[in-house]
Amino acid sequence: MTSPALPSTSRLRGLAATADTARVRRSLVLLALALTLMIPVAVSGNAYLTLLVSLIAIYLIAVTGLDVVFGYSGQVSLGHAAFYGVGAYSVAILSGLNGWPVSASMLVGCVLAAGLAAVIGWPSVRLVHHFLALVTIGLGEIMRLTFLNASDFTRGFRGIGQIPRPALPGLDTSNSTEFLYLIVVVAIAGIWLKENIGRSWWGRLFNGMRTNARAAEAFGAPLIRARTIAFSVSAVYGALAGGFYASLISYVSPDTFTFAQSTLFFSMVLIGGAGTRFGPLIGVILLTFVAEFGQQFQFGQGLFYGLMIIGVIMFLPRGIVGSLEDLYRDKVRAPARRSGRGVTIVSPEAEGE
Protein backbone atom coordinates (compact mmCIF):
# COMPACT_ATOMS: atom_id res chain seq x y z
CA MET A 1 0.00 0.00 0.00
CA THR A 2 1.23 3.37 -0.93
CA SER A 3 2.33 5.57 1.89
CA PRO A 4 3.76 8.93 0.97
CA ALA A 5 7.12 9.58 2.54
CA LEU A 6 6.78 11.30 5.89
CA PRO A 7 7.27 15.03 5.53
CA SER A 8 10.79 16.05 6.37
CA THR A 9 11.36 17.69 9.72
CA SER A 10 12.85 20.81 8.19
CA ARG A 11 9.76 21.27 6.10
CA LEU A 12 7.61 20.91 9.20
CA ARG A 13 9.74 23.39 11.06
CA GLY A 14 9.38 25.83 8.24
CA LEU A 15 5.64 25.46 8.33
CA ALA A 16 5.66 25.86 12.09
CA ALA A 17 7.48 29.14 11.80
CA THR A 18 5.00 30.64 9.36
CA ALA A 19 2.10 29.28 11.33
CA ASP A 20 3.40 30.81 14.52
CA THR A 21 3.78 34.26 13.01
CA ALA A 22 0.28 34.02 11.65
CA ARG A 23 -0.99 33.01 15.04
CA VAL A 24 0.69 35.91 16.77
CA ARG A 25 -0.74 38.24 14.15
CA ARG A 26 -4.23 36.88 14.71
CA SER A 27 -3.94 37.24 18.47
CA LEU A 28 -2.82 40.84 18.10
CA VAL A 29 -5.84 41.59 15.95
CA LEU A 30 -8.13 40.21 18.62
CA LEU A 31 -6.31 42.23 21.25
CA ALA A 32 -6.73 45.35 19.16
CA LEU A 33 -10.41 44.59 18.82
CA ALA A 34 -10.77 44.24 22.57
CA LEU A 35 -9.04 47.54 23.14
CA THR A 36 -11.16 49.28 20.53
CA LEU A 37 -14.23 48.25 22.44
CA MET A 38 -12.85 49.10 25.86
CA ILE A 39 -10.90 52.30 25.42
CA PRO A 40 -13.60 54.74 24.30
CA VAL A 41 -15.69 53.73 27.28
CA ALA A 42 -12.78 53.92 29.68
CA VAL A 43 -11.88 57.36 28.44
CA SER A 44 -15.28 58.98 28.22
CA GLY A 45 -17.01 57.43 31.20
CA ASN A 46 -20.31 58.12 29.49
CA ALA A 47 -22.99 55.86 30.96
CA TYR A 48 -24.99 55.62 27.74
CA LEU A 49 -21.91 54.67 25.72
CA THR A 50 -20.99 52.06 28.32
CA LEU A 51 -24.42 50.51 28.06
CA LEU A 52 -24.35 50.56 24.28
CA VAL A 53 -20.93 48.94 24.00
CA SER A 54 -21.88 46.38 26.64
CA LEU A 55 -24.89 45.46 24.58
CA ILE A 56 -22.74 45.26 21.48
CA ALA A 57 -20.37 42.90 23.26
CA ILE A 58 -23.25 40.76 24.47
CA TYR A 59 -24.76 40.59 21.00
CA LEU A 60 -21.33 39.75 19.66
CA ILE A 61 -21.21 36.69 21.90
CA ALA A 62 -24.63 35.55 20.74
CA VAL A 63 -23.96 36.21 17.09
CA THR A 64 -20.55 34.52 17.15
CA GLY A 65 -22.35 31.40 18.29
CA LEU A 66 -24.93 31.78 15.59
CA ASP A 67 -22.14 32.02 13.07
CA VAL A 68 -20.88 28.62 14.19
CA VAL A 69 -24.14 26.93 13.32
CA PHE A 70 -24.90 29.04 10.27
CA GLY A 71 -21.61 30.26 8.86
CA TYR A 72 -19.73 27.05 9.60
CA SER A 73 -22.19 24.21 9.47
CA GLY A 74 -24.67 25.93 7.21
CA GLN A 75 -27.81 25.41 9.25
CA VAL A 76 -30.27 28.25 9.52
CA SER A 77 -31.26 28.84 13.14
CA LEU A 78 -34.16 31.23 13.58
CA GLY A 79 -34.75 30.50 17.24
CA HIS A 80 -31.52 31.78 18.76
CA ALA A 81 -33.52 33.94 21.16
CA ALA A 82 -34.67 30.71 22.79
CA PHE A 83 -31.15 29.98 24.00
CA TYR A 84 -30.56 33.63 24.79
CA GLY A 85 -33.67 33.43 26.94
CA VAL A 86 -32.69 30.18 28.60
CA GLY A 87 -29.42 31.76 29.66
CA ALA A 88 -31.09 34.97 30.80
CA TYR A 89 -33.83 33.25 32.76
CA SER A 90 -31.39 30.81 34.35
CA VAL A 91 -29.50 33.74 35.79
CA ALA A 92 -32.71 35.58 36.63
CA ILE A 93 -34.34 32.67 38.43
CA LEU A 94 -31.31 31.11 40.09
CA SER A 95 -29.41 34.26 40.97
CA GLY A 96 -32.12 36.89 40.97
CA LEU A 97 -34.72 34.92 42.84
CA ASN A 98 -32.68 32.30 44.62
CA GLY A 99 -29.37 33.89 45.39
CA TRP A 100 -27.10 31.56 43.47
CA PRO A 101 -23.75 32.96 42.36
CA VAL A 102 -24.10 34.29 38.85
CA SER A 103 -21.29 32.19 37.41
CA ALA A 104 -23.02 29.05 38.64
CA SER A 105 -26.36 30.01 37.16
CA MET A 106 -24.67 30.96 33.87
CA LEU A 107 -23.15 27.52 33.79
CA VAL A 108 -26.53 25.95 34.37
CA GLY A 109 -27.97 28.08 31.61
CA CYS A 110 -25.30 26.97 29.16
CA VAL A 111 -25.80 23.32 30.01
CA LEU A 112 -29.58 23.61 29.68
CA ALA A 113 -29.25 25.38 26.37
CA ALA A 114 -26.83 22.80 25.01
CA GLY A 115 -29.14 20.04 26.13
CA LEU A 116 -32.17 21.68 24.59
CA ALA A 117 -30.30 22.13 21.33
CA ALA A 118 -29.22 18.50 21.31
CA VAL A 119 -32.69 17.18 22.04
CA ILE A 120 -34.39 19.35 19.44
CA GLY A 121 -31.55 19.36 16.98
CA TRP A 122 -30.81 15.68 16.76
CA PRO A 123 -34.08 14.57 15.16
CA SER A 124 -34.28 17.74 13.10
CA VAL A 125 -30.97 17.74 11.30
CA ARG A 126 -31.49 14.37 9.72
CA LEU A 127 -34.12 15.65 7.34
CA VAL A 128 -33.90 17.97 4.41
CA HIS A 129 -31.57 20.87 4.59
CA HIS A 130 -33.87 23.72 5.48
CA PHE A 131 -35.69 21.79 8.11
CA LEU A 132 -33.94 23.06 11.18
CA ALA A 133 -34.95 26.59 10.21
CA LEU A 134 -38.60 25.79 10.64
CA VAL A 135 -38.14 23.79 13.81
CA THR A 136 -36.16 26.61 15.37
CA ILE A 137 -38.92 29.08 14.63
CA GLY A 138 -41.28 26.85 16.54
CA LEU A 139 -38.75 26.37 19.30
CA GLY A 140 -38.28 30.09 19.74
CA GLU A 141 -41.99 30.60 20.03
CA ILE A 142 -42.42 27.74 22.49
CA MET A 143 -39.71 29.11 24.75
CA ARG A 144 -41.19 32.59 24.66
CA LEU A 145 -44.60 31.22 25.54
CA THR A 146 -43.05 29.13 28.29
CA PHE A 147 -41.36 32.19 29.77
CA LEU A 148 -44.69 33.97 29.56
CA ASN A 149 -46.91 31.26 30.96
CA ALA A 150 -44.83 29.35 33.49
CA SER A 151 -45.41 32.19 35.93
CA ASP A 152 -44.65 30.07 38.93
CA PHE A 153 -41.05 29.97 37.83
CA THR A 154 -40.66 32.92 35.56
CA ARG A 155 -43.09 35.47 37.01
CA GLY A 156 -44.70 35.62 33.58
CA PHE A 157 -45.25 38.98 31.96
CA ARG A 158 -44.14 40.84 35.05
CA GLY A 159 -40.60 39.62 34.59
CA ILE A 160 -37.84 39.24 37.11
CA GLY A 161 -35.86 42.14 38.43
CA GLN A 162 -32.95 42.88 40.70
CA ILE A 163 -30.62 40.45 39.04
CA PRO A 164 -27.11 40.64 40.46
CA ARG A 165 -23.87 40.75 38.58
CA PRO A 166 -21.21 38.05 38.56
CA ALA A 167 -18.76 38.31 41.42
CA LEU A 168 -15.18 38.20 40.25
CA PRO A 169 -12.20 38.73 42.54
CA GLY A 170 -10.40 41.93 41.71
CA LEU A 171 -13.19 43.31 39.57
CA ASP A 172 -15.97 45.55 40.79
CA THR A 173 -18.74 44.46 38.48
CA SER A 174 -21.23 46.85 39.95
CA ASN A 175 -19.13 49.46 38.20
CA SER A 176 -20.50 49.41 34.69
CA THR A 177 -17.16 50.11 33.07
CA GLU A 178 -15.50 47.20 34.80
CA PHE A 179 -18.41 44.95 33.95
CA LEU A 180 -17.95 45.98 30.35
CA TYR A 181 -14.34 44.86 30.47
CA LEU A 182 -15.48 41.45 31.64
CA ILE A 183 -18.04 41.11 28.88
CA VAL A 184 -15.58 42.24 26.22
CA VAL A 185 -12.97 39.76 27.42
CA VAL A 186 -15.52 36.96 27.27
CA ALA A 187 -16.64 38.06 23.81
CA ILE A 188 -13.09 38.12 22.49
CA ALA A 189 -12.41 34.75 24.05
CA GLY A 190 -15.53 33.45 22.33
CA ILE A 191 -14.30 34.72 18.99
CA TRP A 192 -10.88 33.21 19.59
CA LEU A 193 -12.35 29.80 20.35
CA LYS A 194 -14.59 29.98 17.31
CA GLU A 195 -11.72 30.93 15.03
CA ASN A 196 -9.63 28.09 16.32
CA ILE A 197 -12.45 25.73 15.57
CA GLY A 198 -12.73 27.21 12.10
CA ARG A 199 -9.08 26.66 11.43
CA SER A 200 -9.02 23.12 12.68
CA TRP A 201 -10.20 19.97 11.02
CA TRP A 202 -13.54 20.53 12.70
CA GLY A 203 -13.82 23.73 10.72
CA ARG A 204 -13.01 21.84 7.55
CA LEU A 205 -15.58 19.27 8.47
CA PHE A 206 -18.23 21.93 8.86
CA ASN A 207 -17.18 23.70 5.70
CA GLY A 208 -17.34 20.51 3.73
CA MET A 209 -20.72 19.56 5.17
CA ARG A 210 -22.08 22.94 4.35
CA THR A 211 -20.75 23.01 0.81
CA ASN A 212 -21.44 19.45 -0.30
CA ALA A 213 -22.95 17.19 2.30
CA ARG A 214 -22.87 14.11 0.12
CA ALA A 215 -19.16 14.35 -0.62
CA ALA A 216 -18.39 15.29 2.96
CA GLU A 217 -20.16 12.22 4.21
CA ALA A 218 -18.21 10.05 1.78
CA PHE A 219 -15.07 11.41 3.41
CA GLY A 220 -15.91 10.84 7.00
CA ALA A 221 -18.27 13.62 8.04
CA PRO A 222 -20.79 12.28 10.58
CA LEU A 223 -23.49 14.63 9.38
CA ILE A 224 -26.10 14.27 12.07
CA ARG A 225 -23.66 14.30 14.95
CA ALA A 226 -21.64 17.22 13.62
CA ARG A 227 -24.68 19.38 12.88
CA THR A 228 -26.11 18.68 16.32
CA ILE A 229 -22.81 19.57 17.92
CA ALA A 230 -22.63 22.83 15.98
CA PHE A 231 -26.16 23.64 17.03
CA SER A 232 -25.35 22.92 20.68
CA VAL A 233 -22.26 25.08 20.53
CA SER A 234 -24.34 27.96 19.19
CA ALA A 235 -26.79 27.40 22.03
CA VAL A 236 -24.03 27.71 24.62
CA TYR A 237 -22.90 31.02 23.17
CA GLY A 238 -26.49 32.22 23.11
CA ALA A 239 -27.08 31.28 26.72
CA LEU A 240 -23.86 32.93 27.81
CA ALA A 241 -24.92 36.13 26.10
CA GLY A 242 -28.34 35.89 27.71
CA GLY A 243 -26.82 35.47 31.15
CA PHE A 244 -24.74 38.62 30.73
CA TYR A 245 -27.77 40.42 29.40
CA ALA A 246 -29.77 39.56 32.49
CA SER A 247 -27.00 40.87 34.72
CA LEU A 248 -26.46 43.97 32.66
CA ILE A 249 -30.04 45.17 32.50
CA SER A 250 -30.85 43.57 35.86
CA TYR A 251 -34.32 42.70 34.57
CA VAL A 252 -35.76 40.12 32.19
CA SER A 253 -39.19 39.72 30.72
CA PRO A 254 -40.63 37.40 28.08
CA ASP A 255 -41.07 40.03 25.41
CA THR A 256 -37.33 40.33 24.91
CA PHE A 257 -37.07 36.79 23.65
CA THR A 258 -39.20 36.94 20.57
CA PHE A 259 -38.94 35.88 16.97
CA ALA A 260 -37.97 39.45 16.25
CA GLN A 261 -34.94 39.05 18.50
CA SER A 262 -33.99 35.82 16.76
CA THR A 263 -34.39 37.55 13.43
CA LEU A 264 -32.20 40.38 14.65
CA PHE A 265 -29.42 38.01 15.66
CA PHE A 266 -29.70 36.25 12.38
CA SER A 267 -29.69 39.47 10.37
CA MET A 268 -26.51 40.49 12.12
CA VAL A 269 -24.76 37.37 10.87
CA LEU A 270 -26.31 37.60 7.46
CA ILE A 271 -25.65 41.26 6.81
CA GLY A 272 -22.22 41.24 8.38
CA GLY A 273 -21.16 38.14 6.51
CA ALA A 274 -21.53 34.60 7.78
CA GLY A 275 -18.47 32.46 8.23
CA THR A 276 -16.13 35.39 7.95
CA ARG A 277 -13.83 36.70 10.62
CA PHE A 278 -15.35 40.07 11.20
CA GLY A 279 -18.76 39.54 9.70
CA PRO A 280 -20.52 39.04 13.01
CA LEU A 281 -18.81 42.09 14.49
CA ILE A 282 -19.73 44.34 11.58
CA GLY A 283 -23.26 43.03 11.60
CA VAL A 284 -23.66 43.64 15.32
CA ILE A 285 -22.27 47.16 15.20
CA LEU A 286 -24.17 48.17 12.09
CA LEU A 287 -27.54 46.94 13.25
CA THR A 288 -27.10 48.18 16.79
CA PHE A 289 -26.42 51.65 15.44
CA VAL A 290 -29.36 51.46 13.08
CA ALA A 291 -31.55 50.49 16.01
CA GLU A 292 -30.20 53.14 18.37
CA PHE A 293 -30.03 56.07 16.03
CA GLY A 294 -33.08 55.10 14.09
CA GLN A 295 -35.20 55.21 17.23
CA GLN A 296 -36.52 58.59 16.34
CA PHE A 297 -37.71 57.34 12.99
CA GLN A 298 -39.31 54.32 14.54
CA PHE A 299 -41.03 52.67 11.61
CA GLY A 300 -38.73 54.17 9.06
CA GLN A 301 -35.91 52.45 10.87
CA GLY A 302 -37.78 49.16 10.81
CA LEU A 303 -38.47 49.60 7.14
CA PHE A 304 -34.81 50.24 6.45
CA TYR A 305 -33.86 47.19 8.47
CA GLY A 306 -36.23 44.93 6.54
CA LEU A 307 -35.05 46.34 3.24
CA MET A 308 -31.46 45.70 4.30
CA ILE A 309 -32.25 42.05 4.87
CA ILE A 310 -33.92 41.68 1.50
CA GLY A 311 -31.20 43.64 -0.22
CA VAL A 312 -28.41 41.59 1.26
CA ILE A 313 -29.99 38.33 0.25
CA MET A 314 -30.69 39.56 -3.23
CA PHE A 315 -27.41 41.29 -3.96
CA LEU A 316 -24.83 40.57 -1.28
CA PRO A 317 -25.43 37.00 -0.27
CA ARG A 318 -22.11 36.76 1.48
CA GLY A 319 -22.82 39.82 3.54
CA ILE A 320 -20.72 42.93 3.72
CA VAL A 321 -17.48 41.33 4.85
CA GLY A 322 -17.97 38.32 2.63
CA SER A 323 -18.55 40.48 -0.42
CA LEU A 324 -15.45 42.50 0.35
CA GLU A 325 -13.49 39.28 0.66
CA ASP A 326 -14.81 38.18 -2.71
CA LEU A 327 -13.85 41.51 -4.21
CA TYR A 328 -10.37 41.15 -2.81
CA ARG A 329 -10.08 37.68 -4.19
CA ASP A 330 -11.26 38.78 -7.59
CA LYS A 331 -9.18 41.89 -7.92
CA VAL A 332 -6.03 41.19 -5.97
CA ARG A 333 -5.45 37.50 -6.48
CA ALA A 334 -4.88 36.19 -9.99
CA PRO A 335 -8.29 36.10 -11.59
CA ALA A 336 -9.26 32.53 -12.25
CA ARG A 337 -11.87 30.97 -14.45
CA ARG A 338 -15.19 30.61 -12.68
CA SER A 339 -17.92 28.18 -13.49
CA GLY A 340 -20.34 31.03 -13.35
CA ARG A 341 -23.53 29.64 -11.88
CA GLY A 342 -23.82 32.05 -9.04
CA VAL A 343 -23.49 31.61 -5.32
CA THR A 344 -25.78 30.25 -2.69
CA ILE A 345 -26.24 32.25 0.39
CA VAL A 346 -23.25 31.29 2.41
CA SER A 347 -20.09 29.97 0.95
CA PRO A 348 -17.21 31.24 3.02
CA GLU A 349 -13.85 29.95 1.97
CA ALA A 350 -11.61 28.22 4.40
CA GLU A 351 -8.27 29.87 4.54
CA GLY A 352 -5.48 27.75 3.18
CA GLU A 353 -2.41 29.17 4.77
Partner: protein, 293 residues
Protein backbone atom coordinates in the same frame (compact mmCIF):
# COMPACT_ATOMS: atom_id res chain seq x y z
CA UNK B 1 -69.72 22.01 29.15
CA UNK B 2 -73.20 22.68 27.90
CA UNK B 3 -74.30 22.18 24.35
CA UNK B 4 -74.52 25.91 23.90
CA UNK B 5 -70.92 26.43 24.92
CA UNK B 6 -69.80 23.50 22.83
CA UNK B 7 -71.51 24.84 19.73
CA UNK B 8 -70.26 28.33 20.35
CA UNK B 9 -66.70 27.09 20.66
CA UNK B 10 -67.10 24.86 17.64
CA UNK B 11 -68.31 27.66 15.42
CA UNK B 12 -65.61 30.01 16.67
CA UNK B 13 -63.01 27.31 16.20
CA UNK B 14 -64.13 26.55 12.67
CA UNK B 15 -64.26 30.19 11.85
CA UNK B 16 -60.75 31.01 12.94
CA UNK B 17 -59.67 27.62 11.66
CA UNK B 18 -60.92 28.50 8.22
CA UNK B 19 -58.65 31.53 8.26
CA UNK B 20 -55.71 29.39 9.28
CA UNK B 21 -56.75 27.01 6.54
CA UNK B 22 -56.61 29.72 3.90
CA UNK B 23 -53.20 30.92 5.01
CA UNK B 24 -52.01 27.34 5.20
CA UNK B 25 -53.30 26.67 1.72
CA UNK B 26 -51.37 29.67 0.52
CA UNK B 27 -48.15 28.27 2.01
CA UNK B 28 -48.77 24.89 0.49
CA UNK B 29 -49.75 26.22 -2.92
CA UNK B 30 -46.55 28.20 -3.11
CA UNK B 31 -44.49 25.26 -1.92
CA UNK B 32 -46.03 22.78 -4.24
CA UNK B 33 -45.84 25.08 -7.21
CA UNK B 34 -42.46 26.66 -6.69
CA UNK B 35 -40.73 24.62 -3.98
CA UNK B 36 -40.29 27.77 -1.93
CA UNK B 37 -41.64 29.20 1.30
CA UNK B 38 -43.06 32.71 1.46
CA UNK B 39 -42.83 33.61 5.11
CA UNK B 40 -44.85 36.78 4.60
CA UNK B 41 -48.20 35.11 3.92
CA UNK B 42 -49.49 36.34 7.26
CA UNK B 43 -48.43 39.85 6.37
CA UNK B 44 -50.15 39.58 2.99
CA UNK B 45 -53.22 38.75 5.06
CA UNK B 46 -52.62 41.94 7.03
CA UNK B 47 -51.96 44.11 3.99
CA UNK B 48 -55.10 42.74 2.38
CA UNK B 49 -57.10 43.88 5.39
CA UNK B 50 -55.68 47.38 5.10
CA UNK B 51 -56.24 47.53 1.37
CA UNK B 52 -59.81 46.42 1.97
CA UNK B 53 -60.17 49.05 4.66
CA UNK B 54 -58.94 51.71 2.24
CA UNK B 55 -61.40 50.63 -0.40
CA UNK B 56 -64.32 50.57 2.00
CA UNK B 57 -63.46 53.57 4.14
CA UNK B 58 -61.78 56.44 2.32
CA UNK B 59 -62.80 55.21 -1.11
CA UNK B 60 -66.32 54.30 -0.11
CA UNK B 61 -66.67 51.08 -2.05
CA UNK B 62 -69.30 48.56 -1.04
CA UNK B 63 -67.84 45.76 1.05
CA UNK B 64 -68.07 42.89 -1.41
CA UNK B 65 -66.60 44.95 -4.21
CA UNK B 66 -63.79 45.97 -1.90
CA UNK B 67 -63.22 42.33 -1.05
CA UNK B 68 -62.75 41.39 -4.67
CA UNK B 69 -60.68 44.46 -5.42
CA UNK B 70 -58.43 43.75 -2.46
CA UNK B 71 -58.06 40.19 -3.65
CA UNK B 72 -57.05 41.44 -7.06
CA UNK B 73 -54.65 43.95 -5.63
CA UNK B 74 -53.00 41.32 -3.47
CA UNK B 75 -52.76 39.00 -6.45
CA UNK B 76 -50.76 41.63 -8.28
CA UNK B 77 -48.68 42.27 -5.20
CA UNK B 78 -47.89 38.59 -4.78
CA UNK B 79 -46.97 38.19 -8.40
CA UNK B 80 -44.79 41.29 -8.21
CA UNK B 81 -43.02 39.91 -5.15
CA UNK B 82 -42.17 36.83 -7.10
CA UNK B 83 -41.17 38.71 -10.22
CA UNK B 84 -38.79 40.95 -8.37
CA UNK B 85 -37.37 39.58 -5.17
CA UNK B 86 -37.76 35.88 -5.73
CA UNK B 87 -36.57 35.87 -9.32
CA UNK B 88 -33.40 37.75 -8.50
CA UNK B 89 -32.61 35.34 -5.72
CA UNK B 90 -33.28 32.16 -7.65
CA UNK B 91 -31.43 33.47 -10.68
CA UNK B 92 -28.25 33.87 -8.69
CA UNK B 93 -28.56 30.33 -7.38
CA UNK B 94 -30.39 31.02 -4.17
CA UNK B 95 -32.63 28.31 -2.79
CA UNK B 96 -35.49 27.84 -0.37
CA UNK B 97 -33.62 29.07 2.67
CA UNK B 98 -32.63 32.27 0.91
CA UNK B 99 -36.18 33.02 -0.16
CA UNK B 100 -37.39 32.15 3.34
CA UNK B 101 -35.02 34.69 4.83
CA UNK B 102 -35.82 37.32 2.24
CA UNK B 103 -39.53 36.95 2.92
CA UNK B 104 -38.84 37.30 6.63
CA UNK B 105 -37.32 40.62 5.67
CA UNK B 106 -40.36 41.35 3.53
CA UNK B 107 -42.56 40.65 6.52
CA UNK B 108 -40.68 43.29 8.50
CA UNK B 109 -40.90 45.74 5.60
CA UNK B 110 -44.65 45.27 5.26
CA UNK B 111 -45.36 45.74 8.95
CA UNK B 112 -43.37 48.95 9.08
CA UNK B 113 -44.64 50.26 5.77
CA UNK B 114 -48.23 49.76 6.85
CA UNK B 115 -47.55 51.53 10.12
CA UNK B 116 -46.07 54.44 8.25
CA UNK B 117 -48.84 54.64 5.71
CA UNK B 118 -51.87 53.92 7.84
CA UNK B 119 -50.71 54.56 11.37
CA UNK B 120 -50.72 52.23 14.31
CA UNK B 121 -54.27 52.48 15.50
CA UNK B 122 -56.70 49.69 14.81
CA UNK B 123 -58.78 50.38 11.73
CA UNK B 124 -62.37 49.29 11.72
CA UNK B 125 -64.29 47.98 8.78
CA UNK B 126 -68.02 47.81 9.24
CA UNK B 127 -69.37 44.36 8.64
CA UNK B 128 -71.59 43.92 5.58
CA UNK B 129 -73.75 41.59 7.62
CA UNK B 130 -74.10 43.08 11.03
CA UNK B 131 -75.98 41.34 13.73
CA UNK B 132 -76.11 37.78 14.81
CA UNK B 133 -77.69 34.61 13.69
CA UNK B 134 -79.50 32.27 16.00
CA UNK B 135 -78.49 28.67 15.40
CA UNK B 136 -80.44 26.84 18.02
CA UNK B 137 -79.35 28.03 21.42
CA UNK B 138 -76.30 29.78 20.08
CA UNK B 139 -75.88 33.32 18.86
CA UNK B 140 -73.27 33.56 16.13
CA UNK B 141 -72.10 36.83 14.62
CA UNK B 142 -73.14 36.95 10.98
CA UNK B 143 -69.64 37.97 10.03
CA UNK B 144 -68.28 34.73 11.45
CA UNK B 145 -70.59 32.80 9.20
CA UNK B 146 -69.56 35.02 6.34
CA UNK B 147 -65.93 34.19 7.03
CA UNK B 148 -66.74 30.52 6.95
CA UNK B 149 -68.79 30.92 3.83
CA UNK B 150 -66.22 32.94 1.94
CA UNK B 151 -63.50 30.52 2.99
CA UNK B 152 -65.47 27.62 1.61
CA UNK B 153 -66.15 29.58 -1.56
CA UNK B 154 -62.46 30.40 -1.93
CA UNK B 155 -61.44 26.80 -1.51
CA UNK B 156 -63.99 25.72 -4.08
CA UNK B 157 -62.80 28.45 -6.41
CA UNK B 158 -59.21 27.27 -6.06
CA UNK B 159 -60.24 23.73 -6.75
CA UNK B 160 -62.19 24.71 -9.82
CA UNK B 161 -59.35 26.88 -11.04
CA UNK B 162 -56.73 24.18 -10.60
CA UNK B 163 -58.75 21.27 -11.91
CA UNK B 164 -61.17 22.77 -14.38
CA UNK B 165 -59.29 25.47 -16.21
CA UNK B 166 -56.49 25.13 -18.76
CA UNK B 167 -54.23 27.42 -16.80
CA UNK B 168 -54.90 25.44 -13.69
CA UNK B 169 -53.75 22.35 -15.47
CA UNK B 170 -50.65 24.22 -16.59
CA UNK B 171 -49.97 25.08 -12.96
CA UNK B 172 -50.41 21.50 -11.87
CA UNK B 173 -48.16 20.25 -14.63
CA UNK B 174 -45.47 22.71 -13.71
CA UNK B 175 -45.73 21.77 -10.06
CA UNK B 176 -45.52 18.11 -10.91
CA UNK B 177 -42.49 18.25 -13.14
CA UNK B 178 -40.91 21.57 -13.78
CA UNK B 179 -38.46 20.42 -16.36
CA UNK B 180 -41.00 18.52 -18.40
CA UNK B 181 -43.32 21.51 -18.25
CA UNK B 182 -40.71 23.85 -19.65
CA UNK B 183 -39.89 21.35 -22.35
CA UNK B 184 -43.45 21.44 -23.62
CA UNK B 185 -43.36 25.20 -23.71
CA UNK B 186 -44.89 26.17 -20.39
CA UNK B 187 -43.49 29.47 -19.17
CA UNK B 188 -42.68 28.31 -15.68
CA UNK B 189 -41.63 31.79 -14.57
CA UNK B 190 -45.04 33.12 -15.41
CA UNK B 191 -46.78 30.19 -13.77
CA UNK B 192 -44.76 30.75 -10.61
CA UNK B 193 -45.74 34.40 -10.52
CA UNK B 194 -49.39 33.44 -10.80
CA UNK B 195 -48.96 30.91 -8.03
CA UNK B 196 -47.51 33.51 -5.73
CA UNK B 197 -50.22 35.95 -6.75
CA UNK B 198 -52.95 33.43 -6.12
CA UNK B 199 -51.61 32.61 -2.66
CA UNK B 200 -51.36 36.30 -1.82
CA UNK B 201 -54.89 36.92 -3.01
CA UNK B 202 -56.23 34.13 -0.82
CA UNK B 203 -54.50 35.63 2.20
CA UNK B 204 -55.72 39.09 1.33
CA UNK B 205 -59.31 37.93 1.07
CA UNK B 206 -59.02 36.23 4.44
CA UNK B 207 -57.74 39.51 5.84
CA UNK B 208 -60.62 41.55 4.53
CA UNK B 209 -63.04 38.94 5.84
CA UNK B 210 -61.59 38.92 9.33
CA UNK B 211 -61.13 42.67 9.67
CA UNK B 212 -64.75 43.52 10.55
CA UNK B 213 -64.47 41.16 13.52
CA UNK B 214 -61.12 42.18 14.95
CA UNK B 215 -60.10 45.33 13.13
CA UNK B 216 -57.05 45.89 11.00
CA UNK B 217 -53.76 46.30 12.76
CA UNK B 218 -50.23 46.16 11.41
CA UNK B 219 -49.31 43.32 13.74
CA UNK B 220 -52.31 41.12 12.99
CA UNK B 221 -50.50 38.95 10.48
CA UNK B 222 -47.81 37.66 12.77
CA UNK B 223 -49.59 35.00 14.78
CA UNK B 224 -52.01 34.18 12.00
CA UNK B 225 -49.10 33.61 9.66
CA UNK B 226 -47.39 31.29 12.08
CA UNK B 227 -50.55 29.33 12.69
CA UNK B 228 -51.27 29.10 9.00
CA UNK B 229 -47.79 27.72 8.59
CA UNK B 230 -48.48 25.19 11.31
CA UNK B 231 -51.70 24.23 9.55
CA UNK B 232 -49.77 23.57 6.36
CA UNK B 233 -47.22 21.44 8.19
CA UNK B 234 -49.89 19.44 9.97
CA UNK B 235 -51.70 18.76 6.74
CA UNK B 236 -48.56 17.82 4.93
CA UNK B 237 -46.56 20.71 3.63
CA UNK B 238 -47.29 21.27 -0.03
CA UNK B 239 -50.74 19.74 0.14
CA UNK B 240 -53.33 22.53 0.00
CA UNK B 241 -56.21 20.22 0.91
CA UNK B 242 -54.24 18.92 3.85
CA UNK B 243 -53.70 22.50 4.95
CA UNK B 244 -57.43 22.99 4.82
CA UNK B 245 -58.00 20.12 7.20
CA UNK B 246 -55.03 21.12 9.29
CA UNK B 247 -56.24 24.67 9.65
CA UNK B 248 -59.72 23.69 10.74
CA UNK B 249 -58.31 21.20 13.19
CA UNK B 250 -55.91 23.74 14.66
CA UNK B 251 -58.64 26.35 14.96
CA UNK B 252 -60.94 24.00 16.80
CA UNK B 253 -58.14 22.58 18.93
CA UNK B 254 -57.00 26.04 19.86
CA UNK B 255 -60.44 27.33 20.74
CA UNK B 256 -61.33 24.35 22.87
CA UNK B 257 -57.86 24.31 24.35
CA UNK B 258 -58.11 27.93 25.38
CA UNK B 259 -61.40 27.17 27.10
CA UNK B 260 -59.94 24.25 29.02
CA UNK B 261 -56.56 25.80 29.77
CA UNK B 262 -56.08 29.48 30.34
CA UNK B 263 -56.03 31.78 27.38
CA UNK B 264 -52.28 32.51 27.17
CA UNK B 265 -51.59 28.84 26.60
CA UNK B 266 -53.75 28.95 23.48
CA UNK B 267 -50.89 30.00 21.26
CA UNK B 268 -48.59 27.53 22.95
CA UNK B 269 -50.88 24.66 21.98
CA UNK B 270 -50.49 25.45 18.31
CA UNK B 271 -46.75 25.86 18.56
CA UNK B 272 -46.45 22.60 20.39
CA UNK B 273 -48.49 20.84 17.73
CA UNK B 274 -46.26 22.41 15.09
CA UNK B 275 -43.04 21.30 16.64
CA UNK B 276 -44.30 17.83 17.48
CA UNK B 277 -45.39 17.35 13.89
CA UNK B 278 -42.13 18.70 12.52
CA UNK B 279 -40.11 16.31 14.59
CA UNK B 280 -42.28 13.24 14.77
CA UNK B 281 -44.29 13.42 11.58
CA UNK B 282 -42.73 15.92 9.22
CA UNK B 283 -44.65 14.61 6.28
CA UNK B 284 -47.85 15.70 7.94
CA UNK B 285 -51.14 13.91 8.31
CA UNK B 286 -51.44 13.25 4.64
CA UNK B 287 -47.88 12.25 3.87
CA UNK B 288 -46.41 14.98 1.73
CA UNK B 289 -43.08 14.67 -0.02
CA UNK B 290 -41.83 17.80 1.66
CA UNK B 291 -39.37 17.57 4.53
CA UNK B 292 -38.50 14.05 3.57
CA UNK B 293 -35.19 13.12 2.06
Amino acid sequence: MTLEIFLRLLVAGLMIGSVYALIGMAYSLVYRGTRLINWAQGDFFMVGAFVGYTFVGPLGMPYWAALLAAGGAMFLFGAATHGTIVRVITRRGGRLVDVLLATIGLSIVLQNAVSLLWGTDVKQIPSPLPGTFAAGPVLVPNQSLAVLGVSVATVVAIYLFLYRTPFGMTMRASAENRYAASVVGIRTGRVDAVTWGLAAAVCGIAGVMLAPLFGAHFYMGVTVGLKGFAAAVVGGFGNPWGALVGGLMLGVLETFGAFVLSSPWRDAVTMLVLIVFLIVRPTGLFRSEAFHD
